[in-house]
Amino acid sequence: MSGINTLKGAYIRSALKEGKRNDSREQFQMREIEINREVLSNAEGSARARLGNTDVIAGVKVVVEEPHSDTPEEGNLIVSAELLPMASADFETGPPSPAAIELARVVDRGIRAGSCVDLQSLFIEKGKVYSVYVDIYVLDYDGNLFDVCTIAAMSALMNTRLPKYSDGEVDRKDRSAKLKIDNVVSSATFGKFGGDIILDMNADEEQAADARITITTDGKVVRAMQKGLNGDFSIKEVEQLVDIALKKNSEITGHIKR
């Protein structure tokens, strides 16, 4: 950790002890969410999502492929995330870092475990299914990529249209069928600093945090969780945060569904 970050971190931690955040938000207040849909016309679905100053774009491409041998009557959903070097001085070119892989897998797991996309509706004919590729590009980083990437991916999937497939040909000009969405999930990512816990960390808060937990829900039940960083949570804390995440779902999905 660089010297300036150590100082910033110490300031953030001491202010939190008095219940103050460096951008004067409440403990469990999310930054403003802004979503623009259908921002790209070549992709089958797209959305740009901003959470405060964090800015990501998700594009969906749908291709016709052979199904997996263990699920011959289901299509595929593949979510990946890329930390573009333009998004932060700390992101570098080259193969994906463990943090980028974790991000993509956690977002993917939430949407998959939430049964958000009806994979059976992606079956075309024997040996042919639609594969839905969701690629999330991080354009500008100011913390909490887990939550904003889930928002962008969900929003892009909800305006995704399937290209027509007939006689072995994919016709991308005819995209009249909408992708069937069965469930909408949102995640809430909390950070822990000593005994203080907050929601939706910005970049400065993130670099000072001891522990992180992402809880993905559909408002009724928990669909996925991931604890991160080398700090720890008590069992009681996890249970309290699950409650908050379940309650936050309607606020966040309210933006996604609009």
Partner: protein, 241 residues
Amino acid sequence: MASKINKPKLIHDGKRLDGRGPDELREIKIEAGILKNANGSAYLEWGKNRIIAAVYGPKEVMPKHFADPNAAIIKCRYSMAPFSSLEEHGRSGQNRRAVEISKVIKEVFENVVVLNEYPNSEIDIFMEVLQSDGSTRAACINAAAVALASAGIPMKDMVYGVSVGKVDGEICVDVDMLEDNYSDADMPLAISHRDDRILLLQMDGDMSNEEIGRGFDMAVEAGKKIRELQREALLAMYKGV
């Protein structure tokens, strides 16, 4: 996760397919100090899981610019051997799943190892799954914890790994491969022995808050048994010395 269409019934009269109750662990055997070269090591059998963990260090950091002047760094590698699963030949090396698991396990041990005892040095933890039968990351954590202790590396607490799942709608501890394939939810955990701090937590599927709470209770109960086995393995290493 396999297709739910051919899902077998996994619980009959309160018993799981291998005869266990919901709160029962599979049979576990741990042996410490099984490798000559490594500073610490452990072999673990957990049901049909077969795992070897090895610890090297504290030693010089390679490459040097990763060194932290205030603390040791931990490198962690979880890997599944290409012959480890009942299915096809797996690809050797780190796939994306293994990278993620290595990262979250590393974070567990960064929490408990007293890193500032060894500035400018590194501690390597290698976990190799020779045979997999579900809950391998939990099993690896148990083996790695014993390997670290057998290397004499100071830790502020011992840790255990255990998974909790929702099988046929029932919360069960220690899900095996078959149960995992058809489970409604899976929640791998690593917890500190002394004060039940959650060091690793992942979950996917669907669980209510009440079910998650019951899962934690079961995991903590199981942890007491795992603790004894870890202790015995470490004591046995010094018998006959």
